[in-house]
């Protein structure tokens, strides 16, 4: 995974967030992706979200697998530990890391091949465990690093650059996550920062598994007319369902100009996400209607974006495991090892 060191340029007048960091402090290495890659826009949106959330970089862990998308964790938050796992296995590594230290913010970045082909099983089970993490799929329907093979999210009938037609049905990560019981499901488009940033912030603050599927066109292998994941296609077919306006309580609460049909979602850290449905009657708390809505859009050839489902009362992995609140990595050895007297008593059972 290539990266080039980027000089950290900090202008003295650059705006600081509440922990005294400028946006540049959330940057990472120079991207080595193709010029114009959607993934770089996602990186920019992530940096903006972290900065706005006052996230201390060293309290986050950046997790990824293999592929173009998985390279991007090197392009933000250079002061965070990063983990570039084996292909498709980022969910299990994150699950183990989170089990050991539940205090960190886990940022998982994956792609459609990494999540829906080789890592399909791991993604499914991380959702079921409700591992507390942000899980971004930078979804372009194509394998970039190996030069243009279809991934499992390639649309039926879409053509590759070489003219091959995809005849296999696609896997929609949003429908998958809704089916598997994910507690936060959203979709956006890499080129729509205004929508993506609030979604990412809401996802980062959600306690539990937050899936954000980001359609992120591949400029080298999929940004052409036959592809349903090209810039032109998505821009013309995007249907925004729910607009998220994320407002942490420690900042001034902005009341949206249009505040009819607003759903307020309280997140675990006490902050709130305000969801505005642009479709009359849309309920982001109903798994059933979210499912129906996404499918209805697919039938119309449209892409449902926005926060599609939230369950802020879901039990995360640690709730289910009944783990102590302090990270397991910080438990004093005396509380872990029962000691010699206990062992002596134990031995009586084996006589």
């Amino acid at each position: 995974m290539t990266s080039i060191n980027k000089p950290a340029v900090r202008h003295p007048s650059a705006k600081k967030n509440q922990i005294g960091l400028s946006r540049a402090d959330y940057e990472g290495g120079m991207s080595t992706l193709c010029a114009g890659c959607g993934h770089d826009s996602v990186t920019a949106a992530l940096i903006q979200s972290f900065w706005e959330l006052d996230l201390p970089p060293h309290r986050a862990a950046k997790m990824s697998g293999i592929g173009c998308s998985s390279k991007t964790t090197a392009y933000f938050m250079r002061q965070s530990h990063g983990f570039n796992a084996v292909h498709g296995r980022m969910p299990s590594v994150t699950t183990g890391a989170n089990a050991a230290n539940r205090e960190l913010t886990y940022i998982g970045i994956s792609g459609d091949g990494d999540s829906l082909n080789i890592g399909f099983g791991q993604l499914a089970h991380a959702i079921r465990r409700n591992v507390n993490m942000l899980y971004v799929i930078e979804n372009n329907g194509v394998y970039g690093l190996t030069k243009g093979q279809f991934s499992a999210s390639a649309d039926l009938g879409s053509t590759s650059r070489k003219g091959e037609v995809n005849e296999q049905t696609p896997i929609d990560p949003v429908l998958l996550a809704l089916t598997l019981g994910a507690t936060f499901v959203a979709r956006s488009f890499s080129g729509d920062k205004a929508q993506l940033v609030p979604i990412l912030k809401a996802a980062l603050t959600h306690r539990g598994f937050a899936l954000v599927d980001v359609i992120s066109p591949c400029v080298s292998f999929n940004d052409h007319e036959g592809s349903a994941k090209s810039y032109a296609y998505v821009r013309s077919h995007e249907v925004e369902t729910v607009q998220a306006d994320f407002v942490p309580l420690r900042r001034e609460i902005k009341v949206p100009e249009e505040h009819e049909e607003v759903t307020v979602v309280r997140l675990h850290d006490g902050s709130q996400v305000r969801l505005r449905s642009t479709t009359a009657g849309y309920n982001p708390r109903s798994r059933d209607s979210a499912y129906r809505h996404v499918q209805a859009c697919i039938k119309k050839g449209e892409v449902a974006t926005g926060i599609l489902f939230i369950d802020d009362a879901g039990r995360d992995m640690h709730d289910m495991q009944r783990t102590v609140p302090e990270p397991l990595t910080r438990q004093p050895f005396e509380l872990l090892c029962p000691g010699s007297a206990a062992l002596e008593r134990l031995m009586e059972r084996y006589r």
Binding site: M1, T2, S3, P57, H58, R59, A61, T73, A74, R78, Q79, S80, H81, G82, F83, N84, A85, V86, R89, P91, S92, V93, T95, G96, A97, N98, A99, A100, N101, E103, L104, G121, Q122, A124, H125, R129, H318, Q321, R322, T323, V324, P325, P327, L328, T329, Q331, F333, L335, L336, C337, P338, G339, S340, A342, L343, E344, L346, M347, Y350, R351
Partner: protein, 599 residues
């Protein structure tokens, strides 16, 4: 064999009918009489309805290997009558259920048949079908108590301990026990020529299986994350760990857990979780068996190259493929030692019995963190699932985990700059930082090529530099891992090398070889990569025998690869049929080879 405190018997039953409790009752009673005893459970990969055997060896001399012959068989499974009766030594005994006639064709002139109407007696004494089936086992235990002169008071005491509060059950068990006992006393000469006589050789010992002992090791080593996928014969290990954690790791005030046990969706994921938790700084482990090791290969190579600690307990079973899941082997040696693609080498520790399952599991956690690498504990089904007589486990309260070189926030602050893979003191191990501590310790963990500073590289020299340093680290480890154990005799000119559970048959074989004029020294290797003294031993003797439980002489191959000693200078003694090895197998292989050499 076949004298006082020197005999073996086995029960042949159908699995799922409750014979396990009768067998453990007998074994524990003999143990409580102070007589060394071993049990081998030979069971099917099935829940109910297939043949199962339990062999109990009584040995005043303390030999714990699989018995060389069977003096008495309790034949309760008509489906295996023929083979069970055939398995008794000439002059031995067959106890069978005479409620139904035995096919006269099965009788042997050279064995004594002891018919006990177990079924008929239980049918008469008990009304419920369940009792009639289950208590038939206790009735045969009663008959054996009389025939083998097992202390009835001890057995009754054990029943009291087990069923103390369940009065009806206790009474029924006592009654069934008496039925068999009284019948045997009334109809046969009790005791038989071979039987038990109290000794005082078990007071410092316990009866424990290796999976329980590994679980205790993980508990005492301070492991907090266990990730696993159920697979025979390792499953009872994580079950035991969970039970110990429920007893010792639940906060008394909040009821919350100081542990996290995750049943993964497969072994790939279990390995990933171990690696993730190890990276984060927790002591993490998995338990699995051969097929699981195959699935974990990619992550093992990843953890090797990125230098992340983790403990992988492999309770080996008979392979390849699904193989025989309920039979034992030592056939994963190569797949552990060099697991994964590319240049890799892994630390493997070889416990010989449940006692070492405890100590070497703890040693594995220390080695994993000290050398920042995955460490295997190579147990097997025989150690893991059978009850062994071992010295009581001891604990030194001054023990503290060896966390290896870990830089906390304060230490990181004192550095001009932190580089993850920079070996500053030349021992091959670079200091690591844990996520969450300090931005100064941040680095990118990557399985792709990296240089000593932790940066991505495709530069040949920078890449080779790191790979060579990791190789050196494993060389360093060889000096620091548990040393081989020796059994030496004056004038020995034969050397026997082995690992793990073959300790019991080898020890017995050495005594029997001596009776035949062959004086052998033994080296039991306890760790891979091998300590330098391993080569010294291999070069010292006229003949070297390598005893192991696989077809391809994998231990011999490892010795040849790693020490440079020629393969043809080491004679393999192999048993890969899936049963625990007997001393006979070792004795006959050694003597026949030596006879061939001198002829």
């Amino acid at each position: 064999m076949n004298g006082v405190n020197d005999f073996a018997f086995k029960s042949a039953t159908v699995n799922g009918t409750g014979s396990a409790s009768a067998n453990s009752l007998l074994m524990e009673a003999i143990f409580r009489m102070g007589i060394p005893v071993t049990g081998k459970n030979i069971f099917p990969s099935n829940i109910q309805g297939l043949p199962t055997w339990y062999e109990i060896r009584v040995s005043g001399e303390g030999y714990t290997a699989r018995p060389p012959m069977i003096d008495l068989v309790v034949a309760l499974n008509p489906a295996t009558y023929a083979q069970d009766i055939a398995s008794v030594r000439p002059g031995g005994y067959v106890l069978y259920d005479s409620s139904w006639p035995l096919d006269p064709k099965l009788a042997r002139d050279d064995v004594t048949l002891l018919g006990v109407p177990l079924g008929a007696m239980c049918r008469e004494a008990f009304t419920r079908d369940r009792d009639r089936t289950l208590l038939r086992n206790i009735a045969y235990a009663g008959a054996l108590t009389a025939l083998l002169q097992i202390d009835m008071a001890v057995i009754e005491q054990m029943l009291n301990e087990k069923f103390g509060r369940k009065k009806a059950l206790l009474e029924a068990n006592h009654r069934a026990l008496r039925l068999g006992y009284d019948y045997a006393r009334a109809h046969f000469t009790c005791p038989l020529p071979f039987h038990c006589a109290p000794l005082d050789k078990t007071s410092g010992a316990v009866l424990m299986d290796g999976n329980t002992a590994c679980a205790l090791g993980a508990l005492y080593a301070g492991a907090t994350v266990g990730a696993w996928y159920p697979i025979t014969p390792s499953t009872s290990l994580m079950d035991a760990f969970k039970e110990f954690c429920q007893e010792f790791r639940v906060d008394p005030e909040t009821g919350l857990h100081r542990y996290c046990i995750i049943q993964a969706e497969d072994e790939l994921s279990a390995a990933g979780m171990v690696v993730g938790a190890g990276w984060m700084g927790a002591r993490s482990f998995t338990c699995t068996s051969g097929p699981g090791i195959s699935l974990m290969q990619e992550f093992l190579g990843y953890a090797y190259y990125t230098e992340i600690p983790g403990v992988f307990i492999n309770v080996q079973r008979a392979g390849p493929a699904t193989g025989m899941p309920t039979r034992t082997q030592q056939a994963d040696l190569m797949s552990m030692a060099y697991a994964s693609h590319g240049d890799t080498k892994h630390i493997v520790l070889f416990p010989a019995d449940p006692g070492e399952c405890f100590t070497l599991t703890i040693a594995a956690f220390d080695a994993a963190e000290r050398f920042q690498t995955p460490v295997f504990v190579a147990s097997d089904l025989d150690i893991g699932m059978n009850d062994w007589m071992i010295p009581r486990l001891q604990w030194d309260d001054s023990y503290r985990p060896d966390r290896g070189k870990v830089l906390d926030a304060t230490a990181l602050e004192q550095l001009p700059k932190f580089f993850r893979y920079l070996d500053s003191d030349g021992d091959g191990v670079a200091a690591r930082s844990l996520p969450g501590e300090s931005g100064k310790g941040a680095y990118f963990t990557r399985g792709s090529g990296h240089d000593r500073y932790g940066a991505y590289t495709e530069d040949s020299a920078a890449y080779a530099d790191v790979l060579a340093r990791i190789g050196k680290k494993l060389d360093t480890a060889a000096h620091a891992l548990p040393a081989p154990e020796y059994l030496r005799q004056d004038g020995a000119d034969v050397g026997i090398v082995h690992i793990g559970s073959t300790a019991a048959p080898v020890r017995e074989a050495v005594a029997r070889l001596r009776e035949r004029g062959v004086t052998a020294d033994v080296m039991r290797i306890r760790a891979f990569p091998f300590a330098p003294e391993v080569r010294v031993f291999l070069e010292r003797y006229r003949s070297i025998f390598v005893v192991e439980q696989n077809r391809d002489a994998q231990l011999r191959s490892l010795l040849a690869i790693e020490t440079g000693v020629r393969r043809d200078q080491m004679t393999p003694v192999l048993d890969f049929a899936g049963q625990p090895m007997t001393a006979d197998a070792v004795v006959s292989a050694v003597t026949s080879h030596l006879a061939g050499v001198s002829a």
